[in-house]
């Protein structure tokens, strides 16, 4: 019971460093990240946005089975990835593809799951990026375990664990925060509150003053931040990681943002929200305000802007090429990884399938 209750509570208003018109905002607790950090952040936003939109297009072309877009949430995505150190871990959800790629995971590998080739197409240990979790909030507990293992070995790894507003209602959210607090595990829980869980608005999800207010019930210091403000996101996530790394135990961040597109391509968002509401959030777009600020400050010039666009073009082209090609995942994989070694039952079933495939192809 180290923290006083007051010190755990979030600020009444979300922390903001650049307002929606691109003007700097004074904040007594956080200072503006330095120019190069901001510039890198902006570049990642441009690339991230392109990834979202390219993937969305690939779904419509039938090249991907599904893609939950984070269009509108790119500042959260980028900050979660860029604030990490080399030994830190990221725990993403299905929605956090941009964070995963920003962290450095091979985009084609990432898309394997959305294409339907395999469940996870990259090696989590190589990148220190967990699999993109579908069962909501379950990954938060994994993050606590990973972080605690590092602590036991005396390593200074921090885990950043992402979830949505809806996922905070799951029991696993509660158990993860409590385990983290009790074991003082270096985990930063980052809630992307994008106002909806599929069709269900926040007001039907929680009656709390804010989702960040959940921290106090675990003894976890909690923070609210404008999730469409890349500067504030980098500052707040960066500081939370620093706190966790310094032995301050877990931290909770609620980032206020908005999902600009439907939940996935299978969803029809017009059934549950108005065009007006969406338009209002359009004004708070994370890219345009960052661009305005950086341009006004002379940090972003045409040359670097062009560089980012080129980078985005390249990754989009890579995705189109790789996903445009035919692929046919090897059915033998089905049996290979269920256990370290296939059981005799699996060997029988594999033989049956091979035989079927052979006869099919005759």
């Amino acid at each position: 019971m180290a923290h006083s209750p007051e010190s755990l509570l979030p600020t009444a208003e979300p922390i903001s460093l650049i307002d929606q018109d691109g003007a700097a905002v004074e904040n007594s607790d956080y200072s503006m990240p330095d120019d190069s950090t901001l510039l890198a952040g902006y570049g990642a936003l441009v690339v991230g946005r392109r990834i979202n939109d390219q993937a969305y297009a690939l779904v419509r072309q039938g090249r991907l089975a599904v893609y939950p877009s984070s269009h509108g949430q790119e500042a959260c995505q980028v900050a979660a990835a860029l604030a990490l150190g080399a030994n830190d871990w990221l725990f993403p959800t299905y929605r956090d593809t941009v964070a995963v790629i920003t962290r450095g995971v091979d985009p084609i590998g990432v898309m394997e799951s959305f294409r339907g080739d395999w469940h996870c197409g990259y090696d989590p240990k190589q990148y220190k990026v967990a699999t993109q979790s579908t069962p909501l909030a379950t990954q938060l507990l994994h993050a606590v375990g990973v972080a605690h293992a590092a602590t036991l070995r005396g390593e200074d790894t921090v885990a950043v664990a992402l979830c949505g507003d809806g996922a905070t209602s799951e029991g696993d959210f509660h158990e993860a925060l409590n385990f983290a607090a009790v074991f003082k595990a270096p985990v930063v829980f980052l809630i992307q509150n994008n106002e909806y869980a599929i069709s269900v608005p926040l007001a039907k999800q929680s009656a709390a003053p804010s989702l960040a207010h959940k921290g106090v019930g675990y003894g976890i210091p909690s923070h609210r931040v404008d999730g469409n403000d890349i500067a504030a996101m980098l500052a707040v996530v960066g500081e939370a990681i620093a706190q966790a790394r310094a032995g301050g135990g877990p931290q909770l961040i609620e980032a206020h943002t908005y999902r600009m597109q439907a939940h996935t391509n299978a969803d029809d968002a017009t059934r549950y929200r108005t065009a007006d509401e969406v338009a209002q959030w359009q004004e708070r777009d994370p890219l345009s305000r960052a661009k305005t600020y950086l341009t006004d400050q002379g940090i972003l010039d045409e040359r670097s802007a062009a560089g980012f666009t080129a980078q985005a073009d390249q990754i989009a082209a890579e995705l189109r090429t790789a996903l445009g090609a035919e692929s046919s995942p090897d059915p033998d994989q089905l049996f290979k990884y269920v256990y370290e070694k296939p059981t005799s039952a699996l060997i029988e079933q594999q033989a049956m399938l091979s035989d079927e495939i052979e006869r099919e192809s005759v």
Binding site: V200, R271, S327
Partner: protein
């Protein structure tokens, strides 16, 4: 609340018609809600959105927020809440969004929903229907295609139903809602949009009854839910190859209709069980075991299974290798020791 009773039913389909299973289920929900004000429908996205499969489409609009509503995103919460509502006079019909997302509610289902009636010597009834869109064949990604029936069927106290066509979907859901026992109602996702002829005037056989859906004399295919369709296809192909296959649609996994199933198998002397779930320790195992135990002296060949492989459900582009197929069924039938007959 009783005012809701007077509401005209906005059934979007006439009494007999070509109808999808999703529509048939919607109709069953509407009529049950109209008949009984204690029927409540809730879950994730079932209100405004009408459910991700649109099975609850329009129910909030037509019956109000008190009768059909969205809950916070927490499956144990949904089921535990349903237990309390049932304790206090309501008949909850809840939706688990996808099969694998019912697992967080496992304790509430196994330790309370299934056991409360027994625990209280029948004093507290659990008239709860847990609707679970289940099974594969829709190109769904991980966690969206599990066939989880064995977990429920193994749990005494639960009734486990799986319709295989729109008409049964309608009648079985109405019966499930009317039942004072808790029902796990498994809706085959891949059949949601299949159009069927459906007769809404003549009730189908009740809970606990299987149906012979195709007559045949050489061997019996026993299936339920999505596999019934594949079994019927296989029987059609077999017929063209000169083999007469009988097809049983189990409909009710628990209670199990030993009478119909055993009579059928005794009549042919051969049987193949078809199911999507991994075969090990499954409902298919049970059927093989029961039929082998009870019909031993009538069998010309071992009862065989065409079940899901004993692997996690595959990614979309590999699922066809996993699912029971017509060819795999026919290969298995070919194997039934015909030379010994």
């Amino acid at each position: 609340m009783t005012a809701l009773l007077d509401r005209t039913i906005n059934s979007e389909v006439p009494a007999t018609s070509k109808i999808t299973m999703a529509q048939a289920l919607n109709r069953a929900l509407r009529e049950s809600m109209a008949d009984d004000p204690s029927v409540l429908v809730f879950g994730e996205d079932v209100g405004t959105l009408g459910g991700v499969f649109r099975v609850t489409d329009g129910l909030t609009r037509d019956f109000g927020e008190n009768r059909c509503f969205d809950t916070p995103l927490a499956e144990a919460g949904i089921i535990g809440f349903a237990v309390g509502l049932a304790m206090n006079g309501m008949r909850p019909v809840v939706e688990m969004q996808f099969d694998a997302f019912a697992y967080p509610a496992f304790e509430q289902i196994v330790s309370h929903v299934a056991k409360m009636h027994n625990r209280t010597r029948g004093a507290v009834k659990m008239p709860i229907v847990i609707r679970i869109p289940y099974g594969g064949g829709i190109g769904g990604v991980e966690h969206h295609c599990d066939s989880s029936e064995a977990y429920y069927a193994h749990t005494p106290g639960l009734t486990v139903l799986a319709p295989a066509n729109a008409e049964d979907a309608y009648w079985m859901l109405r019966e499930a809602i009317a039942s004072d026992d808790p029902v796990v109602f498994l809706e085959p996702k891949k059949l949601y949009w299949a159009k069927d002829d459906a007769d809404f005037s003549t009730p189908r056989p009740g809970i606990g009854r299987a149906a012979v859906v195709r007559d045949g004399t050489d061997a019996t295919l026993i299936a339920y839910g999505p596999s019934v369709v594949v079994a019927l296809e296989a029987a059609e192909v077999a017929a063209s190859e000169g083999r007469s296959l009988q097809v049983i649609d189990l409909r009710s996994i628990t209670p199990f209709d030993d009478e119909t199933v055993c009579a059928a198998v005794r009549s042919t002397g051969r049987a193949v069980v078809i199911a999507e779930a991994p075969g090990f320790a499954s409902v298919a195992s049970e059927i093989v075991a029961r039929v082998s135990e009870r019909c031993f002296n009538s069998l010309y060949a071992p009862v065989r299974r065409v079940a899901g492989l004993d692997i996690p459900y595959p990614p979309p582009r590999l699922e066809r290798h996993y699912l029971p197929s017509v060819d795999r069924i026919l290969d298995t039938v070919d194997d039934l020791q015909w030379e010994d007959a």
